[in-house]
Structure formats: structure tokens, C-alpha cells
């Protein structure tokens, strides 16, 4: 009798648990921080205690004598190569220190105790130099020069012009001009910084790292090491979070390599939490001057944006965030005339790196609060004004981003409808006039982000190799990195869907650069889209190979066959033609005709690099979101309690319901922190709150109810229609909260985080004058 295999429900859109979750819940997962290699040494860094100083001498003689100390690396005895986007950062500093993070020496020893002791005994003599901590101050002629070869302390600049803003300003009925001061926040990955370096006897380096871009990492690391990038093998053990912080090489990594080379033993270098706060990247603080005009009818006429980024002592990827910031400043809403100018300026502060949202958190805080203000000035409601300026399907932004769908307007409309926005908004405004300690607020913010990769490198591709074993299991070797975000689950799901096998029959291999094919890394909300397409296309190729073999064997034509439930079946009636595993063995053990199912795919998205004027459709797709915050404020203490965040986002297609919700909620928590509580306080270059007590990440009791509405508009280039989604949830909440705060108390804040003290000062300012 024929075996009938019923067509199973699609896996797309289902809640699929992450394959790495079971090991994580039982405490079995070995994170890089947990790893111990045979004969491994422990290493730490001697950092400076100055923010700007000439190094006169470094004396390691006493430290070397500490029992158990095996190697000490200093600028003098280590390779001289540089790291960083502008190659301006020597991993070990020999001539001068430029910020409080600066590395004087690396010390490797048998025990942590010995290393701690040795660190104390390293003597450094300095000649202090005047410091500069503000980007506009640092641009002045008489400012201290931080790098001799960087005149004017200028790091990277970005400039874009479109239309005629002077004319547009003259033609405007209203013009608003604002200044924003956007603060330092940091990733606070739960797994503190850690790296393990190990050389083999051929002189080739194996580096165990937390990196989220393993292939570029080799390229960026090699110049600091005096070895070829080809001689570096990158292994990525499980990491405790990344969020963009691992998109760069940081000095501690080459320092561990120098020590491993000297010691001829594996060296593990790791951070304390305090060090993690002081010496790992931050989001780029930005001072933004913005002017925006509109006609009486609400049509935006122009935007003029000038940004000063506090680059800190060295140039990391953080200095390139204007590339993304600019897309929102110029292209979020229809802006017919626009200029954007940014300067990243060296200061003696710790340097910023990349962080989820990559400049768009800052851009969105500015644009979304300004949109709110302009609506009010025009006498329009916040929804009407936004809809008036939302682009239509097929429009291109001034930088040539093609907006295929009308998702922005849809997001706004759905959000307003689901929350009864206008009614609540008006009621809260009216309530401001009445007495009462507690005020309710509702606010909306929107943004746009690349959702089909972002072509900032010459390739935005991902390689995938898919093989099938004799038992019907698929192994997917992908360049994409799993850093906790859940790409393994997504790839498992996409491959299972195509091959008709259970998700438990898919194995993902992706943590070894010696095995995996190239990928740009986890950034720019690109992995589900790019790696997902690569994996799916590989699965389609494998499927074709399998079905072709089945067709030959069964004399049923290939277009009438399908894979389902571990069988090759006839598509129309589900009758099993053969079991998949049996067929695979028959293909494999077919003597001269033997074939192994082993396919590869290199997926490069249909997008273009920007030209020198920053024009180019850099992503295959874009995504919009509208987030609405409902909150209450205690006007006496300034305490803010979030009730609910309603998030409408254009996601193309939900692949993994659990994964997408998790990315939304997690991003929102970080976005709430940006808006309300998180700030790395840096005074005169010194980090004042390097701990979780005073750097206030959001905790469980603060999380509001979250309601997500996904607009599924089936992106034609995405895997099963999916877009990348995971940065918008972090980008929008801060601005949404700021607008809700305004709705509650009638005060706008151009300097997040909106802390209770800032709220109270704004509300009771007269009493402050009296008291002081």
C-alpha cells in the first residue's frame, strides 16, 4: 500500500525554540569566559590612569620578577602595527596616552593572583598634557592636538547635500531650530570581554574571540600582529552578548596575541566588569544642530543637520555611524531639500564603537521629537503631520533608497488605531491643566532602517555549504555568526522547510573561520535576510539534486515531486516515492554514478555601494516602524512608569515568531534604557559609573507590556519574504518615550536620558533658582 505523507503546516512564522537553548538552560554551554586550554596562562592589562600624557618611561623590571609571571608585553617589545578604522590605535601605547582606556602593558602569568601583583609593580612615568573633552572645543585652533598627524583633531567627516536648503528655508512658513546633546551609553554585554590566543608550531594563530564579524576580523587584526590574515584562524565560542560591540578589533585582542607569542602558550585575557565599562565601546555621543522647515499645510520643506561626534581618543567603527544616521536624517519622511554634515572629532574621552542601531538611535531621537514639536507648532495632530509627509510606495529618498512599500503610513495608522492614540493624546494634554500629581502620557515615534543588508563593504554576501549525510540529516556550514540572536534557529527553520525534514535533523556549523565560508558579520540587521537567503538557496539546490535523483529512479517527472516528512513524495497526492534517507544512501553508494548531496551558495544581495556623494541604494529592502509609548509620570519625584509599548513594524514576513518577538522585546529594553536611565557618565575623560549600580540598565520590574503588530508585506528579495528587523526595536523607543513624556508634562528633553531629576528640575525650575 502506498504511504501517504500529509502536507505539514509550514514552519514559517512558527515559534521555533533556539537549538542552543537547552544547553544554555542546564548550564552546559561553554562560553569563551569558561574555556580552559591546556597550559593556558591568565592575562590582564595595565592601563593608564591619565587621559592625555606623554609616556616618559615604562618599567617592568619588578613585575617580571613576580613568581608565576611568564610574559609581559609593552610597546617596546611588541609589534608596532595599528588597529582601528583609520589605523590610529597602537594596541600598546609607547609614546603617549590619549584616553583613560589606554594600554601600557599586557601581563601573562600562571595565576590571576600573580598577574594582579605584577600589574601593581609596573611603573609608568608621564608628563601630563592638557586634555580636551568636547568635540567643538577640540576643533578650535588652540585645542590640544591628540594625534600629531590629525590636524584640527578631525577624524571622519560625512557631507551630503540635496536640493537647495536656503531657498527652501525662505519658502517655509515655519522653521524650527534645535540643538540636541546625545549621551554615552554602552552595551553591558553580560559576558565580559575575553579572548584566547594560541599559536601552533607552524606559527599560525588560532584566536578564540567574541567577534561578531569573524572574516573581516582577520583582516583587521593581522596588521597589528606582523602576520598574514591568512594565518589567523578565528573560532567563536558562545558569547554573552555583543549588540555591535564586537564589530571591531580592540587592543586587548592583539595584546593577548603578543603574550601568546612570547610565552609560546595559550593566553586568556579577560575583563572585569569595571574594565568592561571603562574599556569596551560605547555608543557615539552626538551633538546635533538641526533646522527643519514646513509649509502651513504641513509639508516639510527642508532639513539642515550638523553633527559633532565625540570620537574619543581613537577611531573605531563608531566614527562611521553617520553613514546610517544620515539615511534617517535625509530620508525619513519626504525631505525635498536636505543637507547633512558631520564631523567626528578626537577628544581625550574613551572612544565609541558600533552599537545596535548604529547612529540611527541618535538620528531617530532627534527627528522623531522634532516631528512631534513641529506638528504642535503647525497646529496639526502628531499623526496627521506624519502621514502628510510619509513617502508613497516606489518613492526614493534623496540618497536613493528605494521604498517599495507604503509601510511607514501603514505603521503610523495601525499604531494610532490600536492605541486610540489621538483621543488619549488630547485627553492627556487637557489633563495637564488640572491639578494632580500623576500625569499620563502617550507618544509616537517612527523610523526607517535598512532591512536587506547594508552594502558598506564591497561585498555584503554570505557563503553557505549544505551537505546531507546518509541518514537524511542536513549540515549547514554558514558564514553567519550565532551571537545569541537566534540565526541558528532561523537557518534551521528555512532549511527544514525546503527539505521537508524535522528541525532536529538540521545541524548548523558556524564558529570556525577555517571551515565556514565568508560573511560580513552580524550587523545592520542583515543576518536573517542575507544568511537566510544563502541558506535557503542552498537548500533549494540540494532539493533539486535530490528530486532529480528521485525522478530518475521513479520515472515521475521532477516537477511533480516534493520533499515532505523525510520522504520524496508526489506533490499532488503525497504518495511516498521513497524515503529520503534511503534515497540519499542510494545516491551516495551508486558506484560510478555516486553523488553526494553537497551544495554551496554565495548570496550577494541586490544592493549598491554609495557613491562618493553618499548616493546609492545600499539595501535590498528597508523597514519602517512606529512605536507608541504609554506611561505615567510622578511629577513630584520625577519617576516614570511605563505602561505599554505598542510596536508596529514592517517585517516582510515573520520567520521565527519566538525569535522575532525576542529581538523586539530585547531591543526595546535597550531603547528604554537609552531614553530613561542609561548613561555612562564621563567627566574630563574619566568614567564615573563603571558598575551596574550606577549604570542603570533596565530590570524586569520596569518592563512595560509590549504589544507587537507585524506588517507582513512579503519582501520579494527576502527569504520567504522576510526582512531584517532587529535594530529598529532599539532605535525607536527612546524617542517614543520622549514624546510621551512631553504629552504628559509639556516638557521636551533634548538631552536623554530623561531621568527623574531632569523631569523634576524642568517642572520645578523656579524652586531650584530659589534654593540655589
Amino acid at each position: 500500500m502506498d504511504q501517504i505523507v500529509e502536507k505539514p503546516d509550514t514552519l514559517i512564522g512558527k515559534p521555533i525554540p533556539k537549538p542552543d537553548a537547552p544547553d544554555k538552560v542546564v548550564g552546559k554551554t561553554t562560553y569563551i569566559n569558561d574555556m580552559v586550554l591546556p597550559r593556558m596562562l591568565i592575562a590582564k592589562i595595565k592601563r593608564t590612569d591619565r587621559v592625555h600624557a606623554k609616556i616618559l618611561s615604562v618599567d617592568i623590571s619588578a613585575a617580571e620578577k613576580v613568581p608565576g609571571i611568564v610574559a609581559i608585553a609593552t610597546a617596546e617589545n611588541s609589534p608596532k602595527g595599528l588597529i582601528g578604522v583609520l589605523k590610529d590605535n597602537p594596541p600598546l601605547k609607547g609614546d603617549k596616552v590619549r584616553c583613560i582606556r589606554d594600554e601600557i602593558a599586557g601581563v601573562a602569568g600562571e595565576t590571576e593572583e600573580a598577574v594582579d601583583e605584577a600589574l601593581k609593580l609596573i611603573k609608568v612615568e608621564y608628563e601630563d598634557l592638557p586634555g580636551v573633552f568636547d568635540p567643538e572645543e577640540a576643533l578650535k585652533d588652540d585645542a590640544p592636538l591628540i594625534h600629531d598627524d590629525k590636524p584640527g583633531n578631525l577624524s571622519l567627516t560625512f557631507d551630503f547635500e540635496h536640493g537647495d536648503i536656503s531657498k527652501a528655508e525662505k519658502d517655509s512658513d515655519i522653521v524650527l531650530e534645535e540643538k540636541y546633546e546625545l549621551h554615552y551609553v554602552t552595551h553591558t554585554c553580560m559576558g565580559p570581554g575575553c579572548v584566547i590566543a594560541d599559536f601552533d608550531t607552524h606559527g599560525k594563530l588560532t584566536i578564540y574571540t567574541q567577534t561578531q564579524y569573524p572574516y573581516n576580523y582577520k583582516m583587521d587584526l593581522a596588521p597589528a600582529l606582523d602576520i598574514s590574515a591568512g594565518d589567523i584562524r578565528v573560532i567563536q565560542p558562545p558569547v554573552g552578548g555583543a549588540f555591535g560591540s564586537k564589530l571591531d578589533v580592540y587592543p586587548f585582542e592583539p595584546i593577548a596575541v603578543y603574550l601568546a607569542k612570547k610565552a609560546r602558550r595559550p593566553v586568556k585575557l579577560f575583563f572585569s566588569r569595571e574594565e568592561e565599562f571603562i574599556a569596551s565601546p560605547t555608543r557615539q555621543p552626538a551633538r546635533v544642530y538641526i533646522k527643519q522647515g514646513a509649509k502651513k499645510d504641513g509639508t516639510i520643506t527642508f532639513r539642515d543637520v550638523n553633527v559633532y561626534l565625540n570620537n574619543g581618543g581613537y577611531t573605531s567603527w563608531g566614527a562611521t555611524i553617520p553613514a546610517v544616521m544620515m539615511r534617517t536624517m535625509t530620508g525619513h519622511f519626504r525631505i525635498p531639500n536636505v543637507e547633512f554634515h558631520s564631523k567626528a572629532v578626537y577628544t581625550n574621552n574613551p572612544f565609541a564603537g558600533s552599537f545596535r542601531g548604529y547612529g540611527n538611535v541618535q538620528a531617530t531621537y532627534v527627528t522623531a521629537t522634532l516631528m512631534d514639536k513641529m506638528a504642535e507648532e503647525l497646529g496639526m495632530d502628531p499623526i496627521e503631520f506624519r502621514l502628510k509627509n510619509a513617502q508613497k510606495p516606489g518613492e526614493r529618498t534623496p540618497q536613493n533608497s528605494l521604498l517599495k512599500t507604503a509601510a511607514l503610513a501603514d505603521c503610523i495608522k495601525i499604531g494610532a488605531e490600536k492605541t486610540n492614540f489621538l483621543e488619549k493624546h488630547a485627553a492627556n494634554v487637557a489633563a495637564r491643566e488640572k491639578p494632580g500629581r500623576i500625569r499620563q502620557g502617550i507618544g509616537i515615534a517612527t523610523s526607517i532602517h535598512n532591512a536587506g543588508g547594508a552594502k558598506i563593504h564591497k561585498s555584503d554576501g554570505c557563503g553557505t555549504i549544505l551537505t546531507m549525510d546518509d541518514y537524511g540529516r542536513a549540515t549547514v556550514i554558514t558564514g553567519a555568526s550565532e551571537i545569541g540572536q537566534g540565526i541558528d534557529a532561523v537557518i534551521t527553520q528555512l532549511v527544514s522547510e525546503e527539505l521537508g525534514i524535522p528541525t532536529s535533523d538540521v545541524i548548523i556549523a558556524n564558529n570556525d573561520s577555517a571551515i565556514g565560508p565568508w560573511d560580513v558579520g552580524v550587523h545592520a540587521s542583515r543576518t536573517t535576510f542575507i544568511a537566510g537567503n544563502a541558506a535557503r538557496n542552498a537548500a533549494v539546490k540540494a532539493k533539486q539534486q535530490i528530486l532529480a535523483a528521485a525522478a530518475r529512479q521513479s520515472n515521475v517527472s521532477i516537477d511533480k515531486l516534493d520533499l515532505r516528512g523525510g520522504h520524496v513524495v508526489q506533490k499532488d497526492n503525497g504518495v511516498s516515492v521513497t524515503k529520503l534517507d534511503r534515497l540519499l544512501r542510494q545516491m551516495h553508494f551508486a558506484g560510478d554514478d555516486a553523488e553526494l548531496v553537497m551544495v554551496s551558495e554565495y548570496y550577494e544581495p541586490p544592493s549598491e555601494l554609495e557613491d562618493k556623494n553618499h548616493v546609492g541604494d545600499i539595501s535590498a529592502a528597508y523597514s519602517h516602524g512606529a512605536y507608541i509609548t504609554e506611561l505615567e509620570i510622578d511629577t513630584l519625584t520625577g519617576g516614570v512608569k511605563l505602561h505599554k509599548m505598542t510596536c508596529v513594524q514592517d517585517v516582510g514576513k515573520v520567520i521565527n515568531k519566538l525569535g522575532i518577538e525576542g529581538q523586539m522585546e530585547g531591543g526595546i529594553a535597550q531603547g528604554i534604557g537609552y531614553g530613561l536611565s542609561e548613561e555612562l557618565i564621563i567627566e574630563e575623560g574619566i568614567v564615573k559609573n563603571p558598575n551596574f549600580r550606577d549604570y542603570k540598565v533596565v530590570t524586569a520590574p520596569e518592563m512595560p507590556e509590549i504589544e507587537c503588530h507585524f506588517i507582513e508585506d512579503d519582501e520579494e528579495t527576502g527569504p520567504f519574504g522576510a526582512k531584517g528587523i532587529s535594530e529598529l526595536p532599539c532605535i525607536i523607543p527612546g524617542a517614543s518615550i520622549a514624546n510621551a513624556v512631553y504629552n504628559a508634562i509639556g516638557v521636551r528633553f533634548d538631552n536623554p536620558p530623561i531621568t527623574p531629576e531632569k523631569i523634576v528640575r524642568a517642572l520645578h525650575g523656579d524652586k531650584i533658582e530659589a534654593a540655589e
Binding site: 542552543d20 542546564v26 552546559k28 553580560m190 554573552g240 525576542g662 526595546i668 529594553a669 551596574f692 524586569a700
Partner: protein, 155 residues
């Protein structure tokens, strides 16, 4: 080197005898001497809960507890939660609800959830949130963790 202290205690049902420096934390002892690396050191200051263990039916941050203070006591770590029958219901719920992303906070979160449910088998959502207030998660936004604990409480 600080003085060594000989201690005897029970961890995950097994009696252990170890000699620990007087200044060593329980976390370092578990990780470095007993090779129980499930509990994590994410802050070392009792501010994140990643090192949470249960000692004598009470959850504590093992990073702030002296190893010597374990003498004569009974400890449960994340490694002892799974049984031969499989995952503990809390662990199962964490998997099924997507309460795990990077997972670094997860062992501490599971131990704290277990302690909370031992003390209060029927918590409200607000009580779950309060119960987890000492455990920082940077990935999930807590909602799915709260959902997972709520489901275990319901069943």
C-alpha cells in the same frame, strides 16, 4: 596567599570536601575548584544575578559569598537542576518560550526563578517581575522570561 580553610558541604546532592583560600568566593570555588561553570561572573558585585545559586533553600549571589561559608551547608547549582527525566519544568519553559538568547544570564535566572517559585508557587506577573529584579538580562527584555515563569506557575 590567604589561609586555607577545609570545608565540607553538599552540592547537587554530592558531598564535597575542599580546601579553599579564606578570601575566595563561593563562585570561584564552584567554577575553578569544582568545575561547575554554569554560574557566571558577570559583575562580581551582586548587581546582576548571573552567579545565583541556592544555598539552604535560599538564593544568593555566589560572587559575594565566601566559599568558606559553604561549610556544612547544602548548595544547588544550575548543574543540579536537570534530572534523569529531563529538563526541569522551568528549564523546559525557558526553552519553549524563547527566554534564552545569549544565555549568559540564564543559569542565574533559572535558579532565581526556581527559588521564587519554591517560596511562592502562584506569583502574579508583578511578583514574578519583582522576584527577578536582581537578575539582569541584556538580550531578551525579560518578557519571555516572565512568560516562562508564569507558565510554570500555572501548571
Amino acid at each position: 596567599m590567604s589561609a586555607k580553610v577545609d570545608i565540607t558541604f553538599t552540592v547537587n546532592g554530592a558531598v564535597k570536601q575542599v580546601s579553599v583560600p579564606a578570601n575566595m568566593s563561593a563562585l570561584d570555588m564552584l567554577r575553578d575548584q569544582l568545575d561547575l561553570k554554569g554560574a557566571k561572573e558577570a559583575c562580581g558585585e551582586g548587581e546582576c544575578g548571573a552567579c545565583t545559586i541556592i544555598i539552604d533553600d535560599t538564593s544568593v549571589c555566589s560572587c559575594l559569598m565566601y566559599a568558606a561559608d559553604c561549610d556544612g551547608r547544602t548548595i544547588e547549582t544550575i548543574e543540579g537542576v536537570q534530572t534523569e527525566d529531563g529538563l526541569d519544568p522551568i528549564q523546559q519553559a525557558f526553552v519553549e518560550h524563547g527566554a534564552v538568547q545569549c544565555g549568559y544570564c540564564t543559569p542565574g535566572m533559572v535558579m532565581q526563578a526556581k527559588h521564587m517559585l519554591n517560596k511562592n508557587p502562584n506569583p502574579t506577573e508583578g511578583e514574578i517581575q519583582r522576584g527577578l529584579e536582581g537578575n539582569v538580562c541584556r538580550c531578551t527584555g525579560y518578557r519571555k522570561i516572565i512568560d516562562a515563569v508564569a507558565e510554570v506557575a500555572r501548571s
